[in-house]
């Protein structure tokens, strides 16, 4: 069976750097940090008191008030960003076959704030259960694509991928496969996360995963720097319209890029720590390139997972060196988490948007906050430190890895024919 081609024809962004693709890309290019002291709750007793929050998001601009209150913020981000991508695609929903139009969405956690609020209100009561009937639907992460399907009548395959911080890339690779093997023609895909709340910060603090650089939030996310001390929690969403190539061509759609390959592997090693030699992460990049039918030398840009944790960054760099050999010194590498923070299950979505920016604009977004070289990391690698760099990008690869040892890579290519 000949696989069909899959292209991206619509995009949307709600990020700590801005609530539109344009604003997000501009700030990525400028090297802006999205980190600041937490405004969503009083974090004064927490080890980490800052995060990369979304700013100025008005859900009512996208969703009617009655539906809004039945959605956790994670679904509000999802529906809002899906609307941006659908609008951007110029699809005429009246004329497309919506039974072949699905939604595959990534979210690592789901409605954490709803869970936290409902359970604490029960715990503070006299034992009488007064759970809100919308508690469960607000919490479960599959309601995000559920809401997207209901809002636009999209009746194809519909589910959420939950693979921690790799969830959105997982969703995109799935959507890619479903289209290429003929199951559907169109997908809204991507991911959203909204875990900046007491349970999110407290939980990740307990894992010692977060930076505690409270005196300087904007320089805390510093992938590859010797003084990195953990990731900065981010939130937000990214959305894409994946469309079968002939379908897109027939309607004269703007095509951002083609999805040419995906890889998925597991470390089978540890709950939260990545494999020190990057066993699963090297295999996943190799698999994705094999799937795409390309050689390492064809890749111009790698948007790394690069969370700014002491162990993770080393494992990933080792994996890149293993897979790319000598060419590892020529490929452009950057971690946009230095600016956006770590959007957990939505990370792969906003990072795929950074890859599309590199293809669209011919600009590699930087890894900001680099000051002190780490002797455990090869200084000859081009990690695009501190300033964006012009480079014609034909092929970009995005890595995301999740707790549990899930590894995903996805590869995008400029469309010229």
């Amino acid at each position: 069976m000949k696989a069909r081609r899959v292209v991206i024809t619509g995009i949307g962004a709600i990020t700590p750097l801005g609530n539109s693709v344009e604003e997000y890309w501009n700030n990525l290019e400028k090297g802006v940090s999205g980190a600041a002291p937490i405004t969503k709750f009083d974090a004064s007793k927490f080890k980490t008191q800052f995060a990369c929050e979304v700013k100025g998001f008005e859900a009512a601009d996208y969703i009617n008030r009655k539906e809004l209150r039945k959605m956790d913020l994670v679904s509000q981000y999802g529906v809002a960003v899906a609307k941006q991508a659908l609008d951007d695609s110029n699809l005429d929903l009246e004329s497309v076959d919506r039974e072949r139009f699905g939604v595959i969405w990534g979210s690592g956690i789901g409605g954490l704030k709803s869970l936290q609020d409902e359970v604490s209100s029960f715990a503070q009561g006299d034992g009488t259960p007064r759970f809100n009937p919308f508690f469960i639907p607000k919490m479960i992460p599959d309601l995000i694509p559920g809401h997207i399907s209901m809002t636009w009548g999209l009746k194809g395959p519909n589910f959420t991928t939950v693979s921690a911080c790799a969830s959105a890339t997982n969703a995109m690779v799935d959507a890619f496969n479903y289209i290429r093997f003929g199951i559907s023609d169109l997908f809204v895909t991507g991911g959203s996360e909204a875990a900046v709340c007491e349970a999110g910060i407290g939980g990740f603090n307990a894992l010692r995963a977060l930076s505690t650089r409270n005196d300087s939030p904007s320089s805390a996310s510093r992938p590859f720097d010797a003084t990195r001390d953990g990731f900065v929690l981010g939130e937000g969403a990214g959305a894409f319209i994946f469309e079968e190539y002939e379908h897109a061509k027939a309607r004269g759609a703007k095509i951002y890029a083609e999805v040419i390959g995906g890889g998925m592997t597991a470390d089978a090693y540890h709950m939260t720590a990545p494999h020190p030699e990057g066993e699963g992460s090297s295999r996943v990049m190799a698999e994705a390139m094999k799937d795409a039918g390309i050689k390492p030398e064809d890749v111009d840009y790698i948007n790394v997972h690069g969370t700014s944790t002491p162990l993770g960054d080393i494992g990933e760099v080792n994996a890149i060196k293993k897979v790319f050999g000598e060419y590892a010194y020529e490929v452009s590498i950057s971690s946009t988490k230095s600016m956006t923070g770590h959007l957990l299950g939505a990370a792969g979505a906003v990072e795929a948007l950074a890859c599309l920016m590199s293809i669209e604009r011919g600009v590699i977004p930087p890894t900001i906050n680099f000051e002190t070289p780490d002797e455990n990391l090869d200084s000859k690698l081009d990690c695009t430190f501190n300033e964006a760099k012009k480079r014609e990008v034909n092929i970009a690869l995005s890595n995301t890895f999740g707790f549990g040892g899930h590894n995903f890579s996805v590869i995008f290519k400029k469309v010229t024919d």
Partner: protein, 78 residues
């Protein structure tokens, strides 16, 4: 209008996202105000919380209009 009636109307406007003018005593939650079964459950819970009372399930099932809710609460809340 009683204080209870005012509060009931406010809760309905807030939860169902409807115009205040539509919240008449005869208005049915499901037929006139666009509520589904979950919305109705939530309304009852909000009434319980606001008026610090407990509405038994069999009574809750018979509260289907704005007027029913006001009447029940006026009879059962001090």
């Amino acid at each position: 209008m009683s204080e209870i009636a005012e509060k009931v109307k406010q809760i309905i406007v807030d939860k169902l996202g409807v115009e205040e003018a539509d919240v008449t005593p005869e208005a049915s939650f499901t037929n006139d105000l666009g509520a589904d079964s979950l919305d109705t459950v939530e309304l009852i819970m909000e009434f319980e919380k606001e008026f610090n009372t407990s509405i038994p399930d069999d009574k809750a099932e018979s509260i289907t209009t704005v007027g029913h809710a006001i009447a029940y609460l006026e009879d059962n809340v001090n």
